[in-house]
């Protein structure tokens, strides 16, 4: 069975796409059940992936369809003639190997749960069908991205996930902040995709046979051939290709200097944040680097850069996350930070521990998907209950009101802190251990750098535990408080959102369309019959009088009194995925991690990884203890400062005002970008606009004006609308033509 599935692996991307198409084509006719085809499609994909995962041996490639085929010119039919026999063959080719099937299983599993969660979360939204269509499209792109078997196809799907990300961040396009966040994400990603594209061009130019398939590129021979081709500034083609691939990865995976889009991407619906901007898409860069780690391993300098960038990103994001009050933003920065960890792991893939480090990074990717999706969905649940308010200053002590959310969130937080035996511990420990080993490896040139990175990473782990604990305690502990419009924090609570012009936007909530949008009323008219059914799913809702018409406005602060969900635990359709993910966050580390080495063995089946150095590596108790200690210290500090409301945080921030202010303002990175890049671009654009309006348009107007000047009054009367005068002209023309022909021809 697995054999035939491996041959038909294209089914896995296709099923979610089909589901999405059904969801949007069904539209309103599905009567609010649009999530069913998408959930079913993704669930089936997950089942297929799981079957393949259990029955797979070695790597397979399947060509589904020949997309582009340009044969080499006849003069250079000999493939060995080098770059002169131009050709381009791009089969739509899928592969199944350890790395792919791991990503496929993880993506479909998390996506299925998030889709179930979103089915509850997005109820009442006018864009319900659209949401699930783009959701299915995203899963299609992401699974295609990880299962495609050549660089060009990967690139196509890479752009596909970018588009889906854009569509989903800007899902509530009527909200200016969301529209701008979507634009920002798209533009920043474009900067990175440019690097990826250039890398592809270089690969195509210099790779033997112009063959972009992984099987051709990711070999020692190709690597050596590329390394022996000098390209620019005394560096080899390999160097530039790897550097550009890394450049592309930094944008997609939100690393310095292109991380700025990810925190803003939280303007999208929370399930989207959970799936795309925490669990799956942002790890595409890590996936790409891991996939090409064979090439990367030949450039130690670049590996060092990768590690340093990852380290700096992790530290910076953790520092910013310390002071943010928006729960989702804390998690967003935490995501950036954790992906920084993965990059550190990739960067540490030097010497004999190369394979171990890559596997560590991938394992962190794997576990991170579970607990970060869990945390985001938990925050979504909180947000759902708080009527769209996500500012941690406006609510607290929710553990009694939302027990399921609270304890699943706690599990996710512990996993993120890296405490044993939760999943995060095992993967983070592997990264730290590989960093340490890289530092102590005498074959590595600048081992000291890796040692430094190791200690910074440990410190970042401490910070991670601290801000995670802070978010958890601020939300679920302390005196019970619910957001209300009277809250003094309500006004100006969103001041740090640069895009928010007034508190009106904050009152609308991050998660609702504008109440006065015409779509909403139309949607309510159409969905009115469905909604009480949803209400009956919610145990909290059945206790209170339900008022269907008010639901769409429920997230509006002014209507809190009418909202049946307000301040209560979310319905089971949302809490059950939380519990499943919580179970995953506890168990995947133990089941797949170092205790069983199951994950490692799986990844080792990837062909190119077998070529990496794979020395023996024992479990490093020192790292484990220090990492756990860091997590405990951070968590303890957070408990001390935030479990009860104390004055300690205020005093500490008063102690180092510049640092606290800088952290609060996200180290002014956005402002620096605005000054350095946005302002000059705007200036150039303004100049271009004036050029366009006055020079180009002027020329066009001139061209239009001249004939009018010359022939306007002479030729216009010919168009007098009388059929006979037209006929006279035609006949006269024919007669004259005949006469002229007689005398000339």
């Amino acid at each position: 069975m697995a054999e035939s599935l491996i041959r038909n692996v294209w089914l896995i991307p296709l099923l979610p796409l089909l589901g999405g198409l059904i969801a949007i084509l069904g539209g309103r006719r599905l009567n609010g059940w649009n999530h069913i085809p998408v959930v079913a499609g993704i669930g089936l994909s997950f089942l297929l992936s799981a079957i393949i995962l259990l029955g797979m041996e070695g790597a397979h490639e399947t060509e589904a369809y020949s997309w582009i085929g340009i044969a080499p010119t006849s003069s250079a039919a000999d493939p060995s003639s080098g770059p002169n026999g131009w050709s381009l063959v791009v089969p739509v080719e899928f592969r199944v190997d350890g790395l792919t099937i791991m990503m496929l299983t993880m993506v479909t599993f998390v996506a299925a749960l998030v889709a179930v969660f979103a089915a509850g979360y997005m109820v009442g939204d006018p864009g319900y069908p659209r949401f699930f269509f783009v959701f299915g499209l995203f899963v299609f792109s992401m699974t295609g991205l990880v299962s495609s078997s050549n660089f060009l196809l990967t690139y196509a799907f890479w752009e596909g996930v970018g588009v889906c990300s854009y569509l989903l961040i800007g899902f509530w396009y009527a909200k200016p902040a969301a529209a701008e966040a979507a634009k920002k994400a798209f533009l920043v990603n474009r900067v990175g995709d440019f690097g990826f594209a250039i890398a592809l061009f270089l690969l195509w130019t210099y790779a033997p046979n112009h063959d972009l398939s992984y099987a051709n590129i990711l070999t020692i021979e190709t690597r050596d051939a590329l390394a022996n081709t000098e390209l620019l500034f005394g560096q080899s083609a390999l160097f530039w290709i790897v550097a550009l691939l890394f450049w592309g990865a930094t944008a997609k995976s939100a690393q310095i200097p292109l991380y700025v889009w990810l925190p803003d991407a939280m303007e999208g619906p929370t399930p989207v944040s959970a799936l795309i901007h925490a669990a799956t898409m942002v790890t595409a860069g890590v996936y790409l680097l891991a996939r090409t780690s064979l090439l990367l391993a030949a450039e130690p300098a670049l590996q060092m850069v990768v590690a340093v960038i990852g380290c700096a990103t992790a530290l910076l994001a953790a520092l910013i996350a310390l002071t943010q009050t928006d729960l989702k933003r804390v998690l967003a920065y935490s995501t950036v930070s954790q992906i920084g960890f993965m990059f550190m792991g990739i960067g540490a893939g030097v010497g004999h521990i190369a394979q171990f480090a890559i596997i560590g990074a991938l394992f962190h990717l794997f576990t991170h998907a579970f607990f970060k999706a869990l945390l985001f969905l938990g925050s979504g649940s909180v947000m759902h209950a708080m009527g769209g308010v996500i500012d941690m200053r406006r609510f607290s002590g929710l553990r009694h009101r939302m027990p399921y959310t609270c304890w699943t969130f706690a599990i996710g937080a512990l996993a993120l802190c890296g405490l044993p035996p939760f999943a995060g511990f095992w993967s983070k420990d592997e990264i730290l251990a590989s960093l340490k080993a890289a530092g102590h490896d005498e074959h590595v040139a600048s081992g000291g750098v890796y040692t430094g990175i190791y200690w910074v990473a440990t410190f970042t782990a401490l910070l991670t535990a601290f801000y995670t604990g802070r978010a958890f305690f601020l939300t679920f502990f302390g005196p019970e408080k619910l957001p209300s419009p009277d809250d003094p924090e309500a006004l100006g609570a969103d001041d740090h959102h640069g895009a928010h012009a007034s508190s009106d936007h904050a009152a609308l909530g991050v998660d609702t369309p504008a109440p006065d949008s015409p779509e909403l009323s139309r949607y309510e008219a159409a969905m009115g019959s469905h909604r009480p059914e949803v209400g009956s799913h919610a145990p909290g809702a059945s206790a209170t009088p339900h008022e269907p018409a008010s639901h769409g406005h429920g997230h509006d602060d002014g209507h809190h009194g009418h909202d049946s969900h307000f301040g209560h635990e979310s319905p089971p359709i949302m809490t059950v995925p939380l519990m499943v993910l919580a179970a995953g966050a506890v168990l995947v580390g133990i089941l797949f991690g170092p205790p069983t080495h199951w994950f490692g063995h799986l990844i080792e089946e990837t062909p190119s990884f077998e070529l990496l150095g794979h020395g023996e590596h024992a479990f490093d108790w020192g790292t484990a203890v220090s990492g756990t200690l860091a997590g405990l210290i951070g968590l303890g500090l957070a408990a001390l400062m935030y479990a009860r409301r104390t004055e300690i945080p205020a005093r500490i921030s008063a102690l180092v005002p510049p640092l606290a202010k800088a952290s609060w303002n996200k180290f002014y990175v956005d402002e620096i970008y605005a000054l350095l890049i946005v302002t000059p671009t705007r200036l150039v654009a303004t100049a271009c606009r004036y050029f366009d309006v006055y020079v180009v348009d002027g020329l066009v107007r001139l061209v239009a004006f001249v004939p009018r000047l010359i022939g306007g009054d002479a030729l216009r009367p010919i168009q007098n609308g009388l059929i006979q005068s037209y006929a006279v002209m035609t006949a006269m023309g024919v007669a004259l033509l005949l006469i002229v022909l007689m005398f000339v021809g």
Binding site: R716, Q719, N720, G721, L722, I723, Q724
Partner: protein, 153 residues
């Protein structure tokens, strides 16, 4: 393989007569203002072309020209059906067959062109002033105000 009993000179007879019919038809089409006469002129142009084709058919000794003529005949029939239907519609719009009344598609801002050549004076021909009107038999029923389409159902 031309027909020896029908040399080129005979062909040119047909060509000249056909050309004359065609040119005169064109002349009528260009000068007459009555839509029905214009339509007849167009038919006469077709007759001229048909003569030419028949002449060629005989000259070359095959049937292709005659087949063309048959096609032309049917095209002319179709044209007649459509043209007369259009004339009917146009007449019901403005109660006139004058083609110069239709110049709405002229360039914007141009004044309506009025024919200045003027009509010749009306000289009643001897005989009846006009054709007799048919007297309706029986009593004319009262006509409902609504058109029949709206009355249905």
């Amino acid at each position: 393989m031309t027909d020896p009993s029908f040399p080129f000179e005979y062909l040119s007879n047909y060509l000249i007569i056909g050309a004359a019919l065609m040119a005169l038809g064109m002349l009528g089409f260009l000068s007459r203002r009555n839509l029905i006469v214009m339509f007849l002129s167009a038919e006469m142009m077709l007759q001229g072309v048909a003569l030419t084709l028949v002449g060629f058919s005989r000259y070359h000794g095959n049937w292709t020209g005659q087949v063309f003529t048959i096609v032309m005949l049917t095209v002319a029939a179709s044209e007649a059906a459509l043209a007369l239907a259009l004339i009917l519609v146009l007449f019901h719009r403005i109660r006139s067959l004058d083609v110069t009344l239709w110049q709405d598609l002229r360039e914007t801002g141009l004044p309506e062109s009025v024919d200045t050549s003027g009509a010749e004076p009306y000289e009643p021909v001897p005989g009846p002033e006009s054709y007799p009107h048919l007297t309706p038999s029986g009593v004319e029923p009262p006509h409902p105000r609504q058109p029949w389409e709206q009355r249905r159902g």
